[in-house]
């Protein structure tokens, strides 16, 4: 579980770290959307160059990003495989029954691979440089207009923040309870499916009990400190756009222009 890089935050003080979380969130979504517009080698090259500039600005070693791809590699290879074997058109290199490798298939496979890598790099960059709580703040701020449609935005953001806040706590608790049950002779991850399912019960029940305990304590603590819903509540971290956020937005426009020039 500790090998997962996506979702981790790496403290730092780089240009990217200092961007407003809203900028980073919007830019990441925007980048992921325009990845699908790339359809020539040159346009993919442009996108990769864009990501490399962002990574350089974050001053995080490229190794982190490559590691981020690793847990997804089987999903990627599976999808690429589908593309290669089932795309028709162009020169046929190899055929066996209804499986065939064609020119278009190979190109599509390579494109899909690039898309995956680009998307993973950008999402990894987002979470490595942004604290989860800032991300939740950004979501709240971006969803604010929906309040006029009576969407409980602050409550949703609170739920998101609490969930994010307690991920590490629950991971810790999971490790502790697993250790306690292993010490009592439970083997996790061995034996048949039924045995493994049975082994999870002594882990899940204490976790549930603990989560309810945490929820109750948290509710009491919030009550005791006078929490009465998010409306009109002031913020400790006030989000504000700075000049670098405009630079980041401008870069996205430049990237889009380059992409439009190089795509077919």
């Amino acid at each position: 579980m500790n090998k997962l890089i996506i979702g981790r935050y790496l403290p730092g003080n780089s240009w990217v770290h200092q961007l407003d979380p809203r900028t980073k969130l919007l830019a990441s979504f925007y980048f992921i959307a325009i990845v699908f517009m790339a359809n020539t080698w040159l346009s993919y090259l442009v996108m990769f160059a864009g990501v490399m500039v962002m990574i350089a600005a974050s001053r995080i070693r490229i190794g982190f990003f490559l590691r981020g791809v690793r847990p997804m590699i089987w999903l990627i290879l599976f999808t690429v495989g589908l593309q290669i074997f089932f795309t028709t058109g162009g020169h046929v290199y190899w055929q066996w029954g209804w499986l065939h490798v064609t020119h278009y298939g190979l190109i599509n496979g390579a494109y899909i691979f690039c898309r995956f890598v680009l998307i993973i790099f950008v999402s990894t960059l987002l979470t490595l440089t942004t604290q989860p709580l800032s991300l939740a703040d950004a979501v709240e701020s971006l969803l604010r207009p929906l309040r006029y449609l009576h969407v409980p935005v602050t409550e949703l953001a609170l739920v998101l923040q609490i969930a994010l806040r307690f991920v590490p706590t629950l991971m810790d608790q999971t490790t502790k309870i697993m250790n306690a049950q292993r010490a009592r002779g439970v083997d996790f991850g061995t034996g048949g499916l039924f045995q493994q399912m049975k082994a999870v019960v002594p882990l899940l029940i204490p976790l549930f009990v603990d989560s309810f305990g945490i929820a109750e304590d948290l509710a009491t603590a919030m009550d005791a400190r006078g929490y009465r819903g998010g409306d009109g509540r002031s913020k400790f971290r006030v989000l504000a756009y700075h000049s670098r956020d405009w630079v980041a937005g401008g870069s996205m426009i430049v990237l889009t222009a380059l992409l439009l020039l190089t795509r077919r």
Binding site: N2, K3, R8, L10, R61, G63, F64, R67, Q173, K176, I177, N179, A180, Q181, R182, A183, R184, G185, V186, D187, T190, V201, P202, I205, P206, V209, D210
Partner: protein
């Protein structure tokens, strides 16, 4: 069963960018039948050390020898069950491990995992519940209906029911009331005395170290910085304070008395030793001389 650490180091999340040092070059032997206390401030590596005692963690380098089993970084996770049965482990806030529908079933859970037949495991549950000082009537209750202190006792009973030969205790009395603390510590001492159980105790209570342990390991920043008998460890109050540790209350009291003119050949560690050392020095009242 001796447990020997030979140049053991442990790195958390080895090979990732988040790697952190857990233990550094630990060499020590915990002898069969001893009562060893491990002290050190929070984050000094005590709990990491404990988890090596039953191979929950495997050393990144070095060897841990538990009885006749050698554990190195290459040891596979299979066939560790016999070892886990021999080294019972009571974790901090052990009540968190309870999950069964009844107390009896939760206590019998450990033994059954180690292949003890159902009937025998249930008999063990009854026996252990009495041993930890709970009425037999709780056996059929849900563990979640009990008080925190009672749940802790059930969890401890669950570990004792595995009939280990080494009992590892990670702050077993944290959060218990004074009576509960005393009961539990005396139970462990009794098991140590009568059944020659090897006990390893992690604690912040220097009084417990002075009262029960015959050997002390002091940890700091993942290193073993001092080992010795409680007397040797508590002989240097300045060093202890510098390492964010303290003295047993009795010893503090004795030092205060020393400043008032009382004399001690060696600083007493336990209340009975203090009383014995004080008695000849107390002025006797006139009326009591003849009694």
């Amino acid at each position: 069963m001796d447990i020997t650490f030979d140049h053991v180091s442990y790195t958390y999340q080895a090979g990732t960018p988040f790697a952190g040092e857990g233990l550094q070059d630990i060499s020590v032997t915990i002898h069969d039948g001893s009562y060893t206390a491990i002290i050190g401030h929070t984050g000094s590596g005590k709990s990491t050390l404990l988890q090596h005692l039953n191979a929950l963690l495997k050393p990144t380098s070095g060897t841990v020898t538990i009885g006749d089993r050698q554990i190195t970084s290459e040891t596979s996770n299979k066939n560790l069950k016999p070892l886990r049965q021999q080294v019972g482990m009571v974790f901090q806030f052990a009540e968190n491990q309870l999950f069964e529908q009844t107390v009896a079933r939760d206590i019998a859970f450990g033994p059954k995992n180690f292949g003890v037949p159902e009937a025998k495991a249930n008999a063990l549950a009854e026996q252990m519940v009495t041993l930890v000082g709970l009425p037999a009537s709780v056996l059929s209750q849900s563990p979640f209906d009990l008080s925190g202190g009672q749940m802790r006792r059930v969890a401890i009973a669950g570990v004792l029911a595995m009939q280990p030969s080494v009992l590892v205790l990670d702050e077993p009395t944290a959060g218990l009331d004074p009576a509960g603390r005393r009961d539990m510590m005396q139970l462990f001492a009794k098991l140590h005395r009568e059944q020659h159980l090897t006990v390893v105790l992690v604690t912040h209570q220097m009084d417990d170290v002075a009262d029960y342990a015959d050997h002390v390991l002091v940890m700091d920043h993942g290193r073993l910085v001092k080992t010795g008998t409680p007397r040797e460890i508590f002989a240097d109050p300045v060093w202890l304070t510098a390492n964010q540790l303290g003295l047993p209350k009795t010893t503090q009291m004795a030092m205060a008395l020393q400043r008032r003119g009382f004399k001690f050949a060696e600083l007493p560690l336990t209340t009975s030793a203090l009383a014995a050392a004080l008695l000849p020095q107390l002025p006797v009242k006139a009326g009591e001389r003849d009694e």
